[in-house]
Amino acid sequence: MENLQELLHGFTIAVTVPHLLLMAVGVLLGILVGVLPGLGAPNGVSLLLPLTFGMQPVSAIILLSSMYWGALFGGSVTSILFNIPGEPSSVATTFDGYPMARDGRPTTALATAFGSAAFGALIGVILITFLASWVAQVALAFGPPEYFAVYFLAFASFVGMGGAAPIKTVVALAIGFAIAAIGIDTVSGSVRLTMGVDELVKGVSFVVAVMGLFGIGELLVAVEEEFHARAVSSKIDWREVFRAVGRLPRHSVALLRSAAIGCWMGITPGGPTAASFMSYGIARRFSRRGRHFGTGEVEGIISPETADHAAGTSALLPMLSLGIPGSATAAVMMGGLMIWGLNPGPMLFVDQKDFVWGLIASMYVGNIVAVALVLLTVPVFAALMRIPFVVIAPLIVIICVVGAYSVSNSYLDVVMMLGFGIVGYLFKKLFYPLAPLVLAIVIGDKAEDAFRQSMLLSKGSLGIFFANKLVTCLIVGGIALLLLPLALQLARLLRKPAPSTDGTAVQEKVII
């Protein structure tokens, strides 16, 4: 109850004309940096940061967090329309968002994504409001073994579900881990796998890998298949926006499940990227239409988007209460907090009530402003799909090249991006799955660090992963998710000892 009062007080701070204007400006700027690949939320926020030094801290954080919401939404736009994820956390959105847009339903895809994203953010912010102190305690319980267990869970939920031949999934994962290992290793401090290229000491940027794998890779496939300049006949139809949003409640199970996964991963703090992958993986297993995932399923968009935003929102809580950033953008904002003279940590909630609750109230209002603005832009973005392929293809190449270059103003990144394009093309042609590869690139090194830190702590004993209830549950859950499909198949085989012809058919399925 006390929290509710504080929140109402927060609303009186957040809902003022200057603050609402700041939110609108922040959201629009955010959409812009989210849509432009290679810029992304962390860079956008750090560009804006110096402008906020003269502002009241609460106004400053409202501006920056609104920009964050805008960027999260904007990042989904390029994922869906061009198969180029602007943020690591919107990779999973491409899996079904892009096929749906390509099939001539870009409006539906975008509106569904935005609607479910807003829902996820709302659940995240409600969680922050009511469980702030409890959540802070949960996050503290996470040491290296628990971190590893969370990443393991994310891998397991995604990898165990099949889709491609298991061995191909493992190969894709292994390549991803190798790429993630390039650069300086946190635990030993030594340089790995730079193959004599000095600049590779910085490692392979996610953006570079993903733009090549998805953007260029997809383009190569499309060119080869003589993509019939399918000038997608998407009418600019405002009603479709509302129809798509209106259909969301039908998928309430997926929405709630994804929001729960997102909140959990945001708090723990596995982060939005792991959350969106995990949510997609689990949805694919449990959704009634899971079999059709990857061809433009509505739930294939809802699941990653909801989880991404729920995690992105709840990730702000550990930042405020513990001073640990749950995402790169949160890290930049934390730097901002310090410069404004505030110190993130448990005392922030006591010392700076106006600031904290003003921010939390602004999350409610900011998200509403963001979703309203972004839904208004849907038809405009969807109209981009009507541009013929011969025009859009070179544009995608330009976007990818500029995007890769702008990551760190490096020519090497452009070359690598093009290299990844060829890898992406080969993967598609040979039916290797891209998702495990990307997942391993994004969280592979974190998982490795956590594992080796655990080994340092336990002096090499794997027992540390079963040392307390929390970590045991996570690990057992991960193993269960890995083995579940196998167990289901076995059970089916045992229950119905089919005649030999059917038997081979079932076996076939196991392999696929």
Binding site: P50, A139, L140, G143, T186, V191, V201, K202, G345
Partner: protein, 330 residues
Amino acid sequence: MGRTSTFLLSAAAAVLAGAMPALAAWQPQKPIEFIATAGPGGGTDNLARAVQNIITKHKLTEQPIVVVNKGGGSGAEGYVYGKASAGDPYKVIFGTSNAWQQPLVSKVAFNYTDLTPIAAMAQDEFLLWVKQDAPYKTAGDYLKAAASADFKMGGAQSKDTDEVLTRMIEKAGKVKLTYIPFKSGAETAVQLAGGHLDSHVNNPSESLGQWRGGTQRPLCVFSPKRLPQGPKVTATEGWSDVPTCVEQGLDIKQYEQPRTVWLPGKVTPEQATFYVDLMKKVQATPEWKDYIEKTSQVDTFLTGAEFDKFIKEDLEHVKQVAGEQGWLVK
């Protein structure tokens, strides 16, 4: 041809300099790039952005300044970039003692001698931190407990400043500590608050919030004298109340992390002088004082021979520790 004309110009400038010194000073003619050898949000990034702000606000130069983050490979990305930009006076690199320590212990493709030192602008202090409810009240108690148990010390990065200090504590206190490297000081602080570690050696700003929030407290500071008086951090204590480690029987007199500024190699002395003067002007502003106080750093300004001497001494010291640990790379 281009080189000859530059040479002629600079020769002409040198001649003119004799007559009109004010006109001869080098001035930037195009936008300047500040390279932070850390990701957005870290201490080095904050410094680069604070300096950028101060310069822009006070119009200390006519040219616009852009801050670029090149924090890959624990900062090596930025230094390698600086090395590759030899002769380009429009790239200013912001870093730490990493510039000379990293090449000692990993096979990175640069050395600090590839860069032109400008200045060390601030020193970050190190403290020994333990969990709030830990039984030991002094560094002496801590060492006594560490002698008979397996203590876990966390820190940012491997074979970097934090681990070097950890090894120094082992030697001075005759104890054995298990060092666990994390990505950043902030991450380490949370791990200590959660009870997954026994101690860490964070800078003041990295653990200020945690101290105020009562999840961890400093035992001692690795400095020859106590930190300057400032506002209270907790209800009863401020930085100046933290005893020095030497007072408490942990004989490490001084250990500091300088925030350093560099130009690429092969720039002219005039160009270097311009930036030294620029940084001096930055340091004279009230905004700089404000930045130093908010980040709980110590204001210093080492340049020229003094800076060289500092690097040499630190290098010798780190070489010794790294040699004992078998970290040195050929």
